[in-house]
Point group: C2
Chain length 312, copies 2
């Protein structure tokens, strides 16, 4: 049986206002944390704060089994890698908040599914504006391509997932906005073979204006230009993409998802791979992993397996 939250917990999640707010985060995690504590949210091995760049926010944690460490060079035993990019309205958030499941739970989920998990931080606005987030995703992936085999991960089978502002950064990376990575390696518009797939969880793919206090303002300024849109880049990418939107995401996220659908149909003649995360909100979507697998975990695991497994 697939792990599912009790219906009364889903009902209480649904009763939380859909507006993104500290109260939404507090109430959502209060509902989910007991389930994470029961099932466990820390992988057997966690190596913290490895540096993928010079800035203190350019750090990542690697979550694995002890048996994932098999040596310095790629080997058949290396596991696919899931990299998770947290949200936080471009101005906050972290890969790890001690004493909570945020976001060690993503690493633990990855390890349960036979993967090496990576949780990463990135530089924040207003000090670092667009496209710093995409540059950091690019730099982290470049670092992982060179180093993750030392930790049991296969550098040729990396999937990246981002949530909220993290989904925006991953979308910018896929669209080629990461530009030159921080270590000086050039990325050209066609060579996005760095990852096998990207999961964009509750993202926004076109922003045209932002007011002071709104999430995009500090990162983009008041009038984000056409060049900040990732939609065209996503449509033209050859990287497999999975999108998700939560039932209780706010209107901007539902509009963004529907916008992807209509643009995808116009470009490809098909629907995109888009998961409707039943019962959850903007905060609880990523928290559903392990404890409510039917919501996001099953399709995400399937997406990763399809794009990192052997296809005969």
């Amino acid at each position: 049986m697939v792990q599912q939250l009790p219906l009364d917990v889903i009902a209480r999640l649904r009763a939380i206002d859909h507006a993104v707010s500290p109260e939404q985060a507090r109430d959502s995690w209060a509902l989910l944390t007991p389930f994470h504590e029961k099932i466990g949210y820390q992988a057997p091995r966690i190596e913290r704060d490895l540096s993928y760049g010079e800035h203190p926010r350019q750090r990542l944690d690697v979550h694995s089994l002890d048996t994932h460490r098999v040596g310095d060079s790629p080997a058949p035993g290396l596991a696919p890698v899931l990299v998770f990019v947290h949200g936080g309205g471009f101005v906050g958030g972290d890969k790890h908040t001690p004493g909570t499941p945020r976001y060690d739970l993503v690493g633990a989920w990855a390890v349960r599914h036979g993967l090496v998990g990576v949780t990463m931080t990135h530089r924040l606005a207003p000090e670092f504006g667009w496209p710093a987030g995409a540059q950091d995703v690019a730099a982290a992936i470049a670092w992982l391509r060179s180093n993750i085999a030392d930790h049991g991960g296969d550098p040729d089978r990396i999937v990246v997932a981002g949530n909220s502002a993290g989904a925006v950064h991953v979308a910018d990376y896929i669209a080629g906005h990461g530009g030159t990575s921080l270590d000086g390696t050039s990325f050209d518009g066609t060579s996005f073979d760095g990852v096998r797939g990207a999961a964009l969880l509750s993202g926004i793919y076109q922003l045209r204006s932002a007011q002071p206090g709104e999430p995009g303002y500090a990162y983009y300024g008041a009038s984000p230009g056409e060049e900040t849109s990732t939609l065209t880049g996503l449509l033209e990418s050859s990287i497999p993409l999975l999108f998700s939107v939560a039932e209780r995401d706010g209107p901007a996220f539902h509009q963004a998802a529907a916008g992807v659908v209509s643009a995808w149909l116009a470009r490809h003649g098909t629907m995109p791979d888009l998961v409707w995360v039943d019962g959850h909100n903007h905060m609880s979507t990523i928290g559903s992993l392990s404890i409510d697998e039917a919501a996001l975990g099953v399709p995400l695991a399937r997406f990763i397996e399809r794009n990192t497994g052997v296809t005969g």
Copy 2:
């Protein structure tokens, strides 16, 4: 772990042309049937050919555990009911093809998930044109409301699912096009409390023209009128709906799904609950049940549980 088809089987499904054809059906079922035979596709108890109307096609099979039969009156032990309406281009198809998993597998899947399963036939075009299919769905559900408790099913917790032309009939039923049921009971436009939810798998919700030889021609004629569209009725319904479209459904089905998305956003400000059935085609979507749960089974089971369970 969720049951999943091996990647090489998915790859072979993906290689089948997306056009709906006898060859597509043959090749798809040839790939899936060995897995159904291995896991089993017949519920412990199958009562066949119960009549819900006068016509020979107005028959249904009830799939259950022996322990589902608890007496003549509703009791706490009665199980929710899943009713399945088969496709076949309005002119063919059946609830049961002896010696194959079609569609006893749906009944077996329902029973594995704690439900009573019902597979039903309906009258066919060209002898019976629109809205005969919706009338038959309405008549079958009216019959089940009166009789399914005798077979262990809860008449107040029925979910109906239709596939392809079956999805069209279910959509017509939800939109109120079933009109007066065949036993003379009137349905008014507001009292669709007959079911707790409807799953519309690879359906078409607006058809404006059909050529001889095309599926809609025999059922609607060459120029289906506005009144045959179900989209407005679906948008206004209070019945919870789940839509699905398969990765390898043809363009008309992807356009229909995207059309639901844009209309739903305009009406409700949100995305609909829509499942993208990864890897499967128009024929194999329903065949994925039990043997490739991650594709459709997990979200369908969750939808049924959410709408028939106790929500605290």
